[in-house]
Symmetry: C2
Subunit: 268 residues, 2 copies
Amino acid sequence: MPTLKEQGKNKVISRLLDAAAGVIKRSGVKIKAIGAGCPGPLDSKKGEILSPPNLPDWRGVRLKKIIERRFRIPAVVENDANCAGLGEAMSGAGRGSSSMVLLTLGTGIGSAIVLDGKLWTGKGGFASELGHVSIDYNGLKCGCGNRGCLEMYASATAVVRRRKAAGKMTAEDVYKAAEKGDKISRRIVDETAVYLGAAIANIINALDPETIVLAGGMSKAGKKFFYKVEKAAKERALKEASKGVRIVPAELGEDAGIIGAAWRAKNS
Amino acid sequence: MPTLKEQGKNKVISRLLDAAAGVIKRSGVKIKAIGAGCPGPLDSKKGEILSPPNLPDWRGVRLKKIIERRFRIPAVVENDANCAGLGEAMSGAGRGSSSMVLLTLGTGIGSAIVLDGKLWTGKGGFASELGHVSIDYNGLKCGCGNRGCLEMYASATAVVRRRKAAGKMTAEDVYKAAEKGDKISRRIVDETAVYLGAAIANIINALDPETIVLAGGMSKAGKKFFYKVEKAAKERALKEASKGVRIVPAELGEDAGIIGAAWRAKNS
C-alpha cells in the first residue's frame, strides 16, 4: 500500500500496523517475528529512525518498540536498501551465492552488501552506501558534500539530467530513444554503462563478490546495456577477481524489500 | 631473513624451511600449525602460489603441501597484505575493533579487510585490492589496465614520480623536504593527503569500519600528514559513518605479516 506520508507519521504507522494485523489474522499463520524495512539512516540495533531525507517528521521514531508493543513478538528495523539486498541474496538473483552486492538504480542509488549470507552493516549500520562511493575525486559535486559520487552519474535522475535538452523524459524514455537510434540518448546510455562499469570494477577489486545484482528502473534497460556494463567492469577489474563474477538483473522487483525484511527478522 | 630470490625458488624455500625448523627446535615449543605469508595472487584454499609479479618462477608452487610434508602439521598460505592486516587487527593498531581496513603505502599499495575478526577474502581470495580501487574513472593509466587506481596517486612510488624534478629522492625525502618548507614537496604531500582521504572516504561509505590503519614508509610522514588525510576523508565521507571512525598508524611494523600469518593458522 502507498505510504501517503503527507498524513504524518502517526497515521501512517497505525495504518501500516492495522494492515499487518489484518494480514496476520486472515493468514491464520503463527508469526514469530516481524521485520520492517525503512528509509535510512536508522539505528538498526535500537530500531530507531534517525533522519530520512524524505520523511523528516520520522526522526527519532522508535519503530521497533512500537511494533513490539502492538504485536508482542520481536521486531527488527532495517534500512530498505539492505532489506532489498538480503531479499535478492536469499530468495532472488543472488541465491546460492556466497557473497552478493546489490545496486538499485533509481532516483538515487541504493545498495547492499551481503557476505556469507549476512548483511554487512558496519560499526553503526551505515555501511554499503555505494551510491556515495566516488568514481572521480574531482568530479561533480554531490548533495552529500562529496565529489564524483556514483549517484551523480548513474542514477535514473542523473541520466535524465544529462538528457535535459529533450524536455520531460524519464530514464526509461532515454533508454527507449537510445534503442531506437537517437544519437544523444545512445551516447548517454553508453557513458552510463562506463560509469557503472567503473564502479562495479571497484566493487570487484575491493570485495571479490560472487554476484552483483542490478535493480531499479535502469536495470530494465535491456540486454545490450547489461552487456556494456559487464564489458566495462571486466576491462577495468583485476583479472583474478573478475573471473567468474556474475553481473545479473534483480528478480524480485518491488517485493525484494518485503522478502528481505522477513529474512532479516528470521536471522536476528 | 632476506628472500634472496635470485637463488631460485627451491633454494629459497629450503632455506626458509630449515630456518623454521631451527627456530622450532631451539624454542622447545610444541607447534600445532604453520602460517605462511606470500606475495599474491595465490590460492589460499589450495595453498598454491599463482603468479606473483616479483617472483615469476614461483608460479604453481604448492607451498602448503611442501610445508606440511616437511613438518607433518597443518599449514596455511595467505597473501602477505592480508597477513599484515590480520596481524594489526588482532595484535596491533586495530585490536579491539569489530572491523578494520589496512592500507600499506609502499612501492605499491597493499591492503586488507578484517570484518568481525576474520579476513574478508572474497569468492576466490582476491578481495581487498584497494590499491586498485580507482579514485578517477578517467585518471592515470595503471599497469593493471584500469584508470585512476589509488596506487597511481598515493603509493611511495607515485609520490617520488611526482617529485622527479629533484632527482633521486625517496618518498621519505619528499616528506622531510615538505616539513622543511620546500614548496613543491609540500604541494605533493598535500595532494597525496587529498587522494588518500578520497579513497578512505570511499572505504568509510562502503564498509563503515571501526578502524582504518595506515602502514608503510609514508605512514611515518608525521602527525600533520595524518591530520590532513583524516580531514579530507571526513569532509568527503557521509557524516553518520565517519563519526567515530579511527584513522591510525600501524603499530607492528615489519612484524605485522609474521604475527598475522600465525593468527591465520590459528583461526583456520
